[in-house]
């Protein structure tokens, strides 16, 4: 025996004892227990304090709908607050702690709020905490913050791992009770791909809690036999411990799987969130029992009758020594007989449909007695309450369906308009007789298999009972005779509902939000119906007209970690590495994230104290010797076809139709609204063969745009595009000694002289004794510059060959920081200038726009702007006091102008320290920029509160004539 309240029988393993702790005290349970059943077996009835009034609370249900027994499972980083004890599969060594009390569970000083209850009714916070205003942030907020919330979150990162996955099937069956098992058997026998998901760790649903016989076997044995038969079918996937959280578009369901205790490991996921795409779905999720509303109905020991049944039959646990039964249907006597047969002492069976009604209960730390209206006091320590059952129709109405009311069972069932492909079977649809559930499940499984093109074999009927106990219409017992709870978790009483009605919050959606009923972690599974029945009585409208609040996923709370899967930390997004990554790392590169790419920022050398030292050195190496830079990340698109020239000419604003073979040209690509989308180059490698480059960030968007032009705007053109970014490792070689270096690498007879390979030439050649390559003479830095591309696998080797061959030339690897300084010194626009607001005219590139052809962006590029920003122009800036730094993002104002938007003339887009000049330089977009060259303005950084006087100059700081790159 483990626990003084353990009975004989049940579906627990007495050979397998487990130790666990609750609030620091050690107990013993059995394999097959939940934490709740093990606590009850040990006589622990007080498990927490209620949210608002800190009332003592006990275990209320035996399943997913549990509102009271919320514990924190585990300690430290791994603690899981608000865990339903009824859903915790007991394992050896677990530690659980009760929540929401100051000091020990048995004596919570915050229970004083219970005495203040008359002032803390529904919506009290809308009427309080208003005065004095000074108290809002200093007193009320900290107090409320401390008192609010249920459970405490660990402040360290969650150590658990999670994963996600995708499954496809013909039929998803939700629930492995009698209807679900029958449906899965029927469809599985037909050969359909079936997934059977059940929230529990043992199949059978209510068969495990109730005493039924099916075809001569006990219900539990029958369920186990079905499960075994299904496990043997290769076309069936069984998913125990898997909760279907929601139904989404097009037959997609979200299923959260919890890993079985025996398979858990600290380095493996604890939960997997599956996206299941099912052609058909059978919802066999069963039903949830409702309590009754009467004064004092929240004491520990008061439970749902079906839960009492489950604890006695499945877990062999007596919830108390003397049990009373209160029901509004015929099932009370039968339950009494069943419990008595298990050895319980029955105190009374009270029919809630008649008189005398229950007047109240006594027993603060746990139920001791209940009182009837005729004065009789019935001593009992457990009370089994039943107000009928509500079908678990949630998944059927997640997609905007409306439930329908059935008077005969006093419950909502799925409406007539079900989502495509979804059928309901069993109690989830309002059928409570076991034979009906089994038959409906079989028919639903057969229908699903047939719809998917299979031929299900005939199935025999089942020999079993079809007992049902329809409940009477809702009636509050002894109204006004004391506080009667409707929503246990958020401490909402019948009085609160009457208050909401008086104050005008009468629609069910307003009622919910004003009283907060149904908004706790249990989503009102046990309380919602009583609440809307009470409101219906107040308004006189009736339950169907009152309706329900909207049902939304998830069906039960789900951890954010499970929704994220492994997409946290390093897994957040893929990482792209260039072909030169390892080579760069070996040379001491520091990497920066550029979208998905890792790019070398700079290459620190011994003796350098900070990044500026490295970057300044790299810039000067390019300006005076030769530098090499990994530019593999730039997008490359291979364009071929008879109409390739016309296509390229259509997507760029500048002319490309006459670009000769063997030449490359800078291309400016606009959006249709005239704004610059991207800039890059396009090389003509052959008559019908072009290679386009894009900026790193825009490789995918530009390709998408080009395919849009090709497929949707110009399907008449014979042209094909192949993304080729990853094919090539590409290295920029820049500086006065660039040609000298390359001469040592290119294979004869390639003529790399200035005459043989002039500025803006391109060619296919071989390097280093036979490796195929492409060479482009383009310059982002403004120095004599080339870009040499080899197939990606040879990138590292080429970089190594370059540093080896160029050692005496002073060859220096440089990163994106130096690259950026060099281009700013030359006045080349880049990302900060191509920010989605600038058209060619703003960038001083109006001349590039061709006149005689239609192209994307032609028409709207020239339109006048309303706000005057149309006159913005790219300019250069120098700090008047050369020693002062410039700040990118600073705004430009006239001297003496107030710092308001009306006087804003523009802003600084790019800033760098120029080692070539010895001071900061900047690029800016400035209204009427050309006319202001030579004048002085103020650069205002309002966030830092700083101002710098600046001189407006041409944006081309180095070699404005461009002689170096053409030499």
């Amino acid at each position: 025996m483990s626990g003084a309240f353990r009975l004989s029988g049940g579906l627990v393993d007495r050979d397998h004892r487990l130790r666990f702790a609750f609030n620091g005290r050690q107990y013993e349970g059995l394999a097959g227990d939940t934490l709740a059943s093990a606590l009850l077996a040990n006589g622990v009835r007080l498990v927490g304090r209620s949210f608002k009034y800190h009332r003592p609370r006990g275990i209320f249900s035996a399943g997913s709908e549990e509102p009271n027994a919320l514990v924190t499972l585990g300690e430290g980083r791994a603690a899981l607050p608000n865990t339903r004890a009824t859903m915790v599969e007991l394992t050896d060594g677990i530690a659980a702690f009760s929540q929401n009390h100051l000091g020990p569970l048995g004596f919570d000083p915050l229970a004083v709020t219970d005495l203040l209850a008359p002032f803390l009714g529904a919506g009290f916070y809308y009427k309080t905490f208003m005065w004095p205003k000074a108290f809002w942030e200093r007193v009320y907020e900290p107090l409320i913050r401390k008192a609010a919330g249920l459970g405490r979150l660990p402040t360290d990162p969650d150590p658990r791992l999670y994963d996600k996955g995708h499954l496809h099937c013909d039929l998803l069956v939700v629930g492995a009770g009698p209807a679900g098992l029958a449906a899965a058997r029927a469809a599985g026998a037909a050969g359909a791909r079936v997934i059977l998901a059940d929230e529990g760790f043992r199949p059978g649903g209510r068969l495990l809690a109730e005493r039924h016989e099916i075809d001569g076997m006990s219900g539990a044995d029958w369920a186990a036999a079905q499960w075994q038969a299904l496990a043997a079918l290769p076309n069936v996937r069984l998913m125990p411990r898997a909760t279907a959280l929601g139904l989404y578009d097009h037959g997609i369901a979200g299923v959260l799987e919890r890993i079985a205790p025996e398979a858990r490991a600290v380095d493996k996921p604890a939960e997997i969130f599956w996206r299941v795409r099912a052609r058909r779905i059978v919802l066999a999720a069963g039903a949830t029992e409702r309590p009754l509303v009467f004064p004092g109905n929240d004491r520990p020991g008061i439970m749902l009758a079906g839960a009492v049944q489950a604890f006695v039959n499945r877990w062999a646990v007596a919830p108390g020594r003397r049990v009373a039964i209160l029901a509004n249907h015929d099932g009370g006597e039968a339950l009494a007989a069943e419990l008595a047969g298990a050895g319980l002492d029955i105190a009374a069976v009270i029919d809630a449909r008649g008189d005398p009604q229950v007047l109240g209960t006594k027993g603060r730390g746990g139920l001791r007695s209940l009182t009837l209206a005729d004065g009789r006091r019935i001593a009992c320590d457990a009370l089994a309450v039943s107000g009928g059952w509500s079908p678990n129709l949630h998944l059927a109405v997640h997609r905007d369906g409306k439930p329908a009311w059935r008077d005969d069972i006093q419950a909502f069932v799925p409406g007539a308009a079900l989502p495509d492909g979804l059928a309901v079977a069993g109690a989830a649809g309002g059928s409570f007789g076991l034979r009906d559930c089994l038959d409906e499940g079989t028919r639903a499984g057969q229908a699903a298999a047939t719809a998917c093109g299979f031929r299900p074999p005939g199935a025999p009927g089942f020999t079993t009972d079809n007992t049902q106990h329809p409940p009477a219409p809702f009636r509050e017992l002894s109204p006004g005779q004391g506080r009667a709870w409707v929503d246990l978790q958020n401490d909402v009483t019948a009085k609160d509902i009457r208050l909401a009605h008086r104050e005008g919050f009468r629609s069910v959606e307003h009622l919910k939000r004003y009283t907060t009923l149904g908004m706790a972690t249990d989503q009102g599974k046990t309380g919602n119906l009583a609440a809307l029945a009470l409101m219906a009585q107040q308004t006189g409208r009736g339950i169907p007209e009152t309706g329900t609040t909207r049902y939304r996923p998830p069906y039960v709370p789900v951890s954010l970690g499970a929704l994220a899967g492994r997409e946290g930390g390093r897994g957040f997004k893929p990482v792209r590495r260039t072909p030169l990554h390892d080579w760069s790392a070996a040379r001491g590169a520091s990497f920066v994230e550029s979208g998905l790419w890792l790019r070398a920022e700079w290459f620190a050398q011994d003796g350098e104290s900070g990044w500026r030292d490295s970057v300044d050195r790299e810039v000067m190496a390019v300006r005076t010797a030769v530098g090499i830079c990994d530019v593999s990340t730039l997008g490359k698109i291979d364009i071929q076809g008879r109409d390739a020239a016309a296509f390229v000419d259509f997507v760029y604003c500048n002319g490309f139709a006459k670009l000769p073979v063997g030449r490359v040209r800078y291309g400016l690509m606009l959006r249709e609204d005239g704004i610059v989308m991207d800039d890059g180059t396009c090389a003509r490698l052959g008559e019908h063969h072009y290679l386009m480059t894009t900026t790193t960030a825009n490789a995918a968007p530009v390709f998408q745009h080009l395919e849009f032009v090709r497929q949707c705007l110009r399907p008449d053109l014979d042209v094909h595009l192949v993304p080729d970014t990853d094919s090539w490792a590409q290295i920029a070689v820049a500086g006065p000694k660039a040609r000298a270096l390359l001469t040592r690498l290119v294979d004869a007879p390639f003529d790399i002289s200035n005459a043989g390979f002039p500025f803006m030439a391109c060619a296919e050649l071989t390097v280093c004794g036979g490796t195929k390559a492409r060479l482009f003479r383009i310059s982002f830095s403004g120095e004599l510059g080339y870009e040499l591309a080899v197939p990606a696998p040879f990138g590292s080797a080429l970089a190594e060959a370059m540093t080896g061959a160029g050692a005496d030339l002073g060859v220096t690897p440089y990163g994106v920081e130096a690259l950026n300084v060099l281009r700013i010194e030359k006045g080349h626009v880049s990302g900060p200038e191509l920010n989605g607001q600038t058209a060619p005219a703003h960038l001083g590139l109006r001349r590039m726009a061709a006149q005689g052809k239609d192209y994307i962006g032609r028409v709207l590029a020239g339109r006048t702007r309303v706000d005057g920003a149309e006159t913005a122009r790219l300019v250069g800036l120098l700090p008047c006091d050369r020693a002062q730094p410039l700040t990118a993002g600073a705004h430009l104002l006239e001297p003496g102008a107030p710092r308001t938007q009306a006087h804003d003339l523009g802003w600084i887009s790019s800033v760098a320290f120029s080692p070539s000049l010895g001071h900061d330089i900047g690029l800016a977009l400035l209204n009427d920029g050309a006319a202001r060259i030579g004048t002085r303005l103020r650069a205002v950084d309002a966030m830092a509160g700083a101002e710098v006087e600046v001189e407006i100059v041409s944006p081309h700081f180095i070699d404005p004539e461009g002689a170096r790159q053409r030499g």
């Binding site: 995708h166 792209r576 071929q640 080729d724 990853d726 197939p791 060959a801 061959a805």
Partner: protein, 179 residues
Amino acid sequence: MADHRLAPSPAITAAPLEIGETRLAPRPSGGVHMLVLSAGDPAALAAEIEAAFGPLPAIGRSARTRSGAMLLRPSRERGLCIGSGLAPSPATGFHSLDQTGFWAMISLQGSGARAVLERHWRPDLGDVAFPRGAVAQSSLSGVSATLFREAADSYLILVPRSYAAWLFDDLATTLHWVR
């Protein structure tokens, strides 16, 4: 003048991983060519391909070429030829692009291969939707990849080289987790 030849580096330097009967390994590339199949007359295109290499597979299927290479057809306008090089031939219905360096290949074989893939691959992996010889392009953990079912329990994953190291690592994690 250079006399230092360039040696190629592999896209994936991680070692193969074998857990239970399932093996995850980089597959060295012997040559990959992208075939750009110009839409137009399907019959004429099929005839041209047949003359040049062998049968043109249906969309989503694969076929062996006469020279022993494997020709994958993931979409209407694309073919991927894995294996031998392709001699340029005068053709109007297609042209080819040497993308040997573009694609990294990862092999996933064994009884656990499906269990690994279903954590990453969105489309249906079932035997009806994705039988032996099937090929499809989709997202593998957010990376656009081509998946080829070489045999009942054997899959070949083709992914752009820059993603390969990260993806191999991600698949290796999954192989640890599902076994």
